[in-house]
């Protein structure tokens, strides 16, 4: 039986498949269908220092082969997450990656500080798509200097490995990654949603402005994964329109040591278990002893 396990920041994950942040609730919600212990690691919903109520509806909109969301980062706050939900993952011995965000540098730092190291916490994943309210609302992730600065500040307050989750809406993603790298980041998640909007032709209105996810994002995310993983010596987690094991394989071969599945779970809630199964079958089929053997397979 081929091995799907991968090492990430010295921890061994049973497989390279995770949920994408914000697409598997707080974890318990999927229990009626399958358990979080199925995952290589559970990625938390985006957490912040203080709870956030999020945006009014509509928060989700269907695009041809894509989804536009403006959830507005609703979450119960980092403290309540650990008080109310962490025990669940302990009990299930499921490693987690804590996705977090802020609207100021201080919020990022303070939030990261609250998270105490634990053998189940594989890493912190910082969502850099958030607007920096002190800088006219431009996303932290768009400016190399802001990225460098925020990574440095957060690294200074936590011993937990730090993953930077980047936004596609940048001039040159290599430059952003480089800035994070020089500031000491430990890995990357690529990509977050693409800012987009919808026009309702009948109502002549804009029903939603939000982030585009799903298949539409895939070729763009794939390119980002390839570029960053082939240019920097850090682990890359791939996300963006992964709908099946073939898509997952393409990200892994492009250089992702693990993949995250989001939108696909909404169409078929069993997508993640199916992908894990499919990866195993692929390895058997091409007599490949372990998944780590094909990470970055297309790199020159």
């Amino acid at each position: 039986m081929a091995s799907l396990s991968v090492k990430l920041f010295g921890r061994t994950l049973r497989n390279p498949v995770m949920n994408a942040s914000g697409t598997l609730g707080y974890g318990e919600e999927i229990e009626p269908l399958w358990g979080v212990e199925t995952l290589g690691a559970y990625v938390t919903k985006g957490l912040s220092l203080k709870p956030h109520h999020g945006n009014p509806v509509p928060r989700v909109w269907e695009e041809r082969r894509g989804l536009i969301n403006s959830i507005g980062l609703q979450n119960i706050g980092v403290d309540r997450f650990f008080n109310e939900h962490f025990a669940f993952f302990k009990e299930k011995k499921t490693p987690i990656i804590v996705n977090f965000f802020g609207f100021t540098e201080d919020e990022y730092v303070a939030c990261a500080e609250r998270i105490k190291p634990d053998k189940l916490i594989v890493a912190l994943e910082m969502n850099l798509s958030c607007p920096n309210v002190k800088r006219g609302g431009i996303s932290f992730g768009k400016d190399p200097d802001m990225v460098h600065q925020i990574v440095k500040l957060v690294k200074a307050v936590t011993p937990i490995p730090l993953i930077a989750k980047l936004t596609p809406e940048v001039k040159n993603i290599r430059e952003i990654a480089q800035a994070a790298f020089e500031a000491g980041v430990d890995g990357f998640t690529l990509l977050n949603t693409i800012p987009s909007m919808v026009v309702d032709v009948e109502k002549r209105s804009i029903p939603i402005r939000g982030g585009l996810s799903g298949p539409a994002l895939r070729p763009v995310a794939l390119k980002a994964v390839y570029e960053i993983s082939s240019s920097l010596p850090l682990p890359v987690l791939g996300a963006g329109g992964i709908m099946n094991s073939n898509d997952a394989l393409s990200f892994i071969m492009a250089g992702a040591c693990a993949v995250q599945v989001g939108t696909a779970t909404f169409i078929d809630p069993y997508t993640i278990p199916k992908i894990i199964k499919g990866l195993g079958e692929y390895l058997e089929r091409c007599r490949c002893p372990r998944i780590t053997g094909i990470v970055g397979a297309v790199h020159g």
Binding site: G25, E29, P51, I267, P269
Partner: protein, 252 residues
């Protein structure tokens, strides 16, 4: 809860623009309470997300869904043929909670009848049913609930009371005043809003089923929220904490 490939037994137009889809589940659905819903996968390349529909009826492995054609998903559902398969994720959400009362009042607006059909049958006698719609062409939506001989309101006055269902209900509230009774409602948001106004004075206990655009239907995405009076977590998920809420908890 499970995702089940069901076989379509029938998908008939019951009134202009309204359909009743019956599907046979190969395995029994987990016990469902009235007011719960399902997520239907529409087999159409242009439809990406599943669509939520109330469990109109479920028995002996046969699931029924009554729906109105409002957009591309329901339009393409309406072309589903007998014998084809649909995958339904079910049962989902929190349904109505039933306490023993002296009387029950069920209020439905238009396709909202689909959300209280199973409930009315469960409540049985002691139930008075109020149904409002635009005109008499929609009366077939009452279907097998005629035994309740429902109080009907039509906006165009083509049948029963001329006006909306809440106005009609207000005329009957007198007769119920003394009793310990509860109201159950499903319909368009503006109907629920005026219902709330009507019941405000006595703060009659009332459970209502709400709708919102959904992506997952499982509580995963937080896309389908309703604002409630809860200070700590105002936004509740229609698909998880709902679709049935205590009317007095919801901000309308």
């Amino acid at each position: 809860m499970d995702d089940i490939e069901a076989k379509v037994l029938s998908n008939d137009q019951i009134a202009p623009g309204y359909f009743l889809l019956k599907a046979k589940l190969p395995k029994p659905m987990d016990p469902a309470t009235p007011g719960q819903f399902v997520m239907v996968k529409v087999s159409d390349s242009e439809v990406f997300l599943r669509r939520p529909f109330s469990i109109y009826d479920y028995n002996r492995g046969i699931l029924s869904v009554m729906y109105k054609v409002v957009g591309k998903g329901t339009a393409s559902m309406s072309t589903t043929r007998k014998g084809s398969t649909v995958s339904v994720l079910c049962p989902l959400g929190q349904g109505f909670t039933i306490q023993d009362r002296e009387a029950y009042v069920v209020v439905a607006g238009g396709i909202g009848i689909a959300g209280v059909h199973a409930l009315a049958k469960r409540l049985g006698r002691k139930t008075s049913l109020f149904f409002g719609c635009t005109g008499k062409t929609e009366l077939p939506l009452i279907g097998d609930l005629t035994p309740f001989d429902p109080h009907v309101a039509t906006l165009d006055g083509s049948a029963g009371f001329r006006g909306n269902v809440v106005q009609l209900l207000s005329k009957h509230l007198e007769t119920l005043k003394e009793k310990d009774f509860e109201v159950f409602a499903c319909g368009p948001e503006n109907m629920l809003r005026s219902l709330k106004k009507l019941l405000e004075k006595q703060r009659v206990p009332c459970q209502a089923s709400f709708e919102e655009r959904m992506a997952c239907g499982l509580g995963l995405c937080f896309g389908c929220v309703k604002k409630t009076v809860d200070e700590e977590d105002p936004y509740k998920r229609v698909c998880k904490e709902g679709p049935v809420f205590d009317l007095w908890q919801v901000c309308l």
